[in-house]
Structures are given as structure tokens and as C-alpha cells.
């Protein structure tokens, strides 16, 4: 009866800030980010990405109440940086990561749809590598073996240069 409207889960009300930043009085270099209208989807990946950063001493989130549509993200860093900066970096890294996943996915779809495509799916597994990065040739571009799209770093970075 007095349940909030469902759309309040994801529509930011007028005059409410998407992120409000609170200082933690008991911990040095620690900020709490209250992120409005987001849930585990964002908070969890952000926390995970933050924990990969060696400068982050503490990163955790919680969703205080099921009917309060925000998450609290608390981040503590070493004195070398600030929580805001590491959160920025984490967001940036995740954006790049999803971009890479998408372009690798796109390339794979393109390869499967390619008219010349007899199925080039790898028969041998690990170590086949993928040849021919510079070309859009569906045959030589065995993105299928770039299986670690979800993984981090390294070679995912050069995936998107074709596109």
C-alpha cells in the first residue's frame, strides 16, 4: 500500500545528488560514497576493481535497506593518493574493460557471420594464439582463442585497435 513506486529504484529524484561524499571521522584517507539509484551491479564491480589497486587499503560496499535505493561505498587508500582518485581510476578501468569486451565480442560475431566463414573455431585449445591483428580478415582473425575477455589487463588492450 505504502510501497514506493517501482521506478524510484532507478530514477534519480530532482535535486538529489548522484553521489554524495562523506568523510569518515575515524579512518585517515577514507571516504564514503553514497551512490544514489545504483545497486550491487555497480557497487560490486566497483569494489572488486578497487581491491585490485594496491594503493587501496579498504574498499567495501553495502546496500543499507532494500527500500532505500542507494549503496554506500567506503574506500580507504594510502597517503599516496585519495579515495576519489582511485574511484575515478576504477571507473575508468572498468569503462575500458567493457569497451574491450564489446569490441572483442563484436569481432567474434563478425567472424561467425562472415560469408566466407567455414568455421574457424579453434580445434586446438590453449596456445593457438590469435593471428593477424591488423586485418579485418575473418579467416585469420581467430578471436575465438582470446577467451579471456573477462580477464584483466594486457592483451585485452590491443583488441580494440582494429575497430
Amino acid at each position: 500500500m505504502n510501497a514506493p513506486e517501482r521506478y524510484e529504484m532507478f530514477t534519480l529524484p530532482e535535486g538529489v545528488r548522484k553521489i554524495s561524499i562523506l568523510k569518515d571521522p575515524k579512518m585517515a584517507n577514507c571516504l564514503q560514497f553514497n551512490i544514489q539509484r545504483e545497486d550491487h551491479t555497480i557497487a560490486n564491480i566497483l569494489r572488486y576493481q578497487l581491491l585490485k589497486n594496491p594503493l587501496v587499503l579498504f574498499a567495501a560496499y553495502r546496500s543499507p535497506h532494500p527500500l532505500e535505493y542507494y549503496v554506500e561505498l567506503k574506500v580507504q587508500t594510502t597517503a599516496k593518493t585519495t579515495p576519489i582518485d582511485v574511484v575515478r581510476e576504477a571507473i575508468q578501468a572498468l569503462m575500458v574493460e567493457y569497451g574491450n569486451i564489446r569490441s572483442a565480442f563484436d569481432a567474434e560475431i563478425y567472424r561467425l557471420d562472415a560469408p566466407t566463414g567455414e568455421d574457424t573455431r579453434r580445434t586446438a585449445r590453449a596456445g593457438t594464439g590469435y593471428g593477424g591483428f591488423g586485418s579485418m580478415d575473418a579467416q585469420s582473425n581467430d578471436f575465438g582463442s582470446s577467451g579471456d575477455m573477462g580477464g584483466r589487463g594486457g592483451r585485452a588492450d590491443d583488441v580494440d585497435m582494429d575497430f
Binding site: 517501482r6 521506478y7 529504484m9 532507478f10 530514477t11 545528488r17 548522484k18 553521489i19 554524495s20 561524499i21 568523510k23 584517507n29 571516504l31 551512490i35 545504483e38 551491479t41 555497480i42 564491480i45 566497483l46 585519495t82 579515495p83 576519489i84 574511484v87 575515478r88 571507473i91 575508468q92 572498468l94 569503462m95 567493457y98 569497451g99 569486451i101 564489446r102 565480442f105 563484436d106 560475431i109 585449445r125 590453449a126 577467451g147 579471456d148 575477455m149 573477462g150 580477464g151
Partner: protein
């Protein structure tokens, strides 16, 4: 619930954001259905009999011979004349807007990383069949020393949709939505850095 072909979904606005008062063609699609049963027996009404106002949006079918989903059944003399409005939405508000029927997820099908501790009677190998994804990876040599620092690098997803979108577009859109969400956060953080809009002004400086 009747899935509607949604490959043009990006061209629609949310009614909430639309300038119209009730609904319009920019934020919704109208469907009409007018059937009367005149013959003996039951007249079954299928979703394909809905007449759409937008050629790109129609009830999902499995092929040209598929009549779609049964909406209702009429007996002799009964008649239905309805006007339906389809609007765009987000599955977080209601699952009817979810194009996704099922998602399967797996990593490390050989359990090389030993994240799983299988229960078995006599032999793990015999009692736990390998999934199809196991063909994609090699099993570690059981005699080799266990690499406790190894992390999963390959993840397997099975994506099934209800037919309103192709699974390919679904994955594509998912990455895009995540990026949009992150982009929103980044914008919000930049705003917070702006001293004028910052409620933290009167507090001590951070750090």
C-alpha cells in the same frame, strides 16, 4: 506475456521522459485486436492477430507458420475489440521488460582451480560429467603441483532471450548499459569536485 520484436528499441523514448501527456508514437506502440467468433466451436485468438501501429514492432514468432501465443479463446457469439499500448521500460521495474530468458555462467570446467569440492561416492570423474565447455580448456596434470595463485581467465556464458532481441544484441547492450552507468558515476564525481556544487565546502578538506 507477449514478447515484441525490439530491435528498434533505441529509437523509442521512455514515456516518463517523453514530452507527450499520455503516450505517443515516439514512446509507445499501439496494437489493435478485433475478433468475433461466428462459427461453431472455439475460436482461438493468437498474438499474431494483434495489429501493430509500427512495422518494426510486432509479436515474436518462431517463423512464418507460427501463429504466436494464444491470447484467449472465444465461443460462438463472443467478440473482443481491444486497443493495447506497448511501452518501453526496464526489467528492474518489471520483469515483463526483460528480453533475457536465461543466462548460464561457468568458469574452469575442469575444476583446475579447485574452487569446487565435489561430493562423490567412489570417483569424482565418473560421477560428475564434464560440461560442453570443458572442450575449450585443457585439464591440468593431476600430478603437477597445485598453483594456488592461479585465477580464472575464461568465462562461459550461455545467453537465451525471449525472442524480442537477439542474444548477440543483448550482450552488446549489456556492456553498453554498464558503461553508461559508470559514465554517470564519473560525471557525478566530476561535479562533486566542483567547489560550487559541493556540499562538503564547510567541512574540513578531505584526506
Amino acid at each position: 506475456m507477449v514478447p515484441l520484436t525490439s530491435h528498434t528499441v533505441d529509437e523509442f523514448k521512455l514515456t516518463r521522459d517523453c514530452t507527450c501527456t499520455d503516450y505517443c508514437k515516439e514512446c509507445s506502440v499501439e496494437f489493435n485486436l478485433h475478433v468475433k467468433c461466428t462459427e461453431e466451436g472455439t475460436r482461438t485468438v493468437y498474438s499474431t492477430e494483434l495489429i501493430s501501429s509500427n512495422k518494426d514492432v510486432s509479436p515474436v514468432t518462431e517463423g512464418p507458420d507460427d501463429k504466436g501465443i494464444i491470447l484467449l479463446k472465444l465461443r460462438k457469439g463472443q467478440e473482443i475489440n481491444i486497443h493495447c499500448i506497448a511501452k518501453k521500460g526496464v526489467a528492474k521495474e518489471h520483469a515483463k521488460w526483460s528480453p533475457c530468458a536465461a543466462v548460464g555462467f561457468e568458469y574452469d570446467p575442469h575444476n583446475n582451480l579447485r574452487h569446487l569440492d565435489y561430493w562423490f561416492e567412489k570417483s569424482v570423474k565418473d560421477e560428475w560429467p564434464l560440461s560442453k565447455n570443458a572442450e575449450e580448456e585443457m585439464e591440468n596434470d593431476p600430478d603437477a603441483p597445485f598453483d594456488f595463485k592461479a585465477e580464472p581467465t575464461t568465462f562461459y556464458f550461455n545467453v537465451e532471450t525471449v525472442g524480442s532481441l537477439k542474444p548477440q544484441s543483448l550482450v552488446y547492450m549489456a556492456t553498453r548499459v554498464l558503461q553508461e552507468k559508470l559514465g554517470g558515476l564519473q560525471l557525478a564525481l566530476d561535479e562533486d569536485q566542483n567547489p560550487e556544487s559541493n556540499a562538503m565546502d564547510d567541512a574540513e578538506p578531505w584526506v
